[in-house]
Symmetry: C2
Subunit: 216 residues, 2 copies
C-alpha cells in the first residue's frame, strides 16, 4: 500500500504549491514513489483523529502501514533515506545535503513565515510598514548569504538533493515579491528546480485539488 | 580525532546554555562522545574562513576529519544516527523521534525566536506591547498543543530521544517568562531533561566558557 499524505481540502494558497504537502509530493515524484492523498478540512485538522497524527493540527501527515509521522522535514528526509535520488551515496556529501534541509527550515523559513504572518495580520496597523521593512531586512541578509554560497553553481552542493528541494520550497513562498529577484542566481535556481519534471507533476497534482475545490 | 564544534567566545546569553552549541554538546554527552570546541568572535564568524564552514555566519559548526556540516539539527541527527542512546532502534519509533527534532526546530522555535527578536529590537516602539502579546498568543497555542500531547508521560514518545533533547533546548529559550510554567507538565518535562547528567555536563562546559570570558 503506498504512503498516504494529508493535504488541505481548500488550500489557503489557492493552488500556488506553497502548502507543505507540496514538498513531500515533490520528493515522492523525484524518487518515483506512488502516494495517496487524503484531503482534510480546517475543522478536521483540529479534531482528535487528526491530532493523533499531528500534535499541532497541521498538514501534511504521513502514514505508511504502522508508521505515522508529521513535519514535512521529517517526511522528506524519510523518503530521501529510503529511495535513491534525493541524497548522495557518499556519507559526507549526504550529511551536507541534510544540513541544507535543516538550513531551509530553521534559517531561511522562519523570517519568511514571519513576513507572511505580518502581511496577513498586521496590514491594518499604523506600524505595518516599519515592521515589514525590518522583517525584509532579515530575509535580505539570509538571501544575500545564500546567493554568495550558491555562486554560479546549479545546486547548493553537487547534484540536486533533498536540500535543494526544501530550499526552493521555502524560497518560493516569497512569491511575487522582488526579494528573490534581487539575486539573479537565486531566481535562476528557483526556476531551474521548478522546471524539473518531478516538480511539475507534484505541482499539477496539488493544483488539481484546488481546481476541484473551486468548482465545488 | 574527536569532532570539533565552534561556539561563541562571548555568548550573548551570558552562559545560560541557550546558544545552539549547547544542543550538540548535550548530544555528545548523552552518547559519550568526546569533542573539542573552538571559540570564535563575532568578527571571526563573518570572515571567509568561518563562512566556508557556515554559509550564514553562525555557530555552531561541526568538523570531523573531512566532514564539515552546519545547522544544529543536522548535527544532533548526525550524532544520534552514529551512536546509541538518542534514537530508538525500531525503525518506526526512530522516524517518530526524528519528527520531534523537526517539530522543535520548525514548529516551536520560530515563534520563540520571534519573541526574542521582538524583546530585543522592538522594546522602545509604541506598539511593542501589542505585538509581543500577539507573538505570545502564537507561542501559547503551540505550548498548549505540546502539553496535551505530552500528558503525564516523561518524554514525548517512549524513552528520552534526540527529539526531547531538541524540544527542551527550544523551550528553555523562554527562560524566565511564565509561558512554560502555565503548563506544569511542560515545566516538569524541561526540569526532568535539565536534571540529566549529560545535560549538566554540557551546561557546565559552556558555562566555563562564559566564566573565562567574563574574567578576561
Amino acid at each position: 500500500m503506498p504512503p498516504t499524505l494529508t493535504a488541505f481540502k481548500a488550500s489557503p494558497d489557492r493552488g500556488r504549491g506553497l502548502a507543505r504537502d507540496m514538498r513531500v509530493r515533490w520528493a515522492f515524484e523525484e524518487v518515483g514513489q506512488p502516494y495517496e492523498v487524503r484531503l482534510v478540512t480546517f475543522a478536521q485538522m483540529k479534531a482528535p483523529a487528526h491530532l493523533a497524527l499531528h500534535p499541532f493540527g497541521q498538514i501534511p501527515t504521513y502514514e505508511e502501514g504502522d508508521l505515522a509521522i508529521f513535519e514535512c522535514g521529517a517526511m522528506v528526509l524519510h523518503v530521501a533515506e529510503r529511495h535513491a535520488g534525493l541524497l548522495p551515496d557518499e556519507a559526507n556529501a549526504r550529511a551536507r545535503a541534510i544540513s541544507w534541509i535543516f538550513a531551509a527550515l530553521s534559517t531561511l523559513e522562519p523570517p519568511i513565515t514571519e513576513w507572511e504572518i505580518s502581511r496577513f495580520t498586521e496590514r491594518d496597523k499604523s506600524w505595518f510598514g516599519e515592521r515589514l521593512a525590518a522583517v525584509e531586512d532579515r530575509i535580505r541578509t539570509r538571501l544575500g548569504q545564500l546567493s554568495s554560497r550558491l555562486g554560479d553553481a546549479d545546486w547548493l552542493d553537487g547534484d540536486f538533493s533533498a536540500g535543494d528541494l526544501m530550499m526552493v520550497s521555502v524560497l518560493q513562498r516569497l512569491g511575487g515579491s522582488s526579494l528573490v529577484a534581487e539575486h539573479p542566481n537565486l531566481a535562476a535556481y528557483v526556476a531551474r528546480a521548478q522546471a524539473r519534471p518531478a516538480y511539475r507533476r507534484a505541482f499539477e497534482a496539488q493544483y488539481a485539488v484546488f481546481l476541484a475545490a473551486s468548482k465545488g
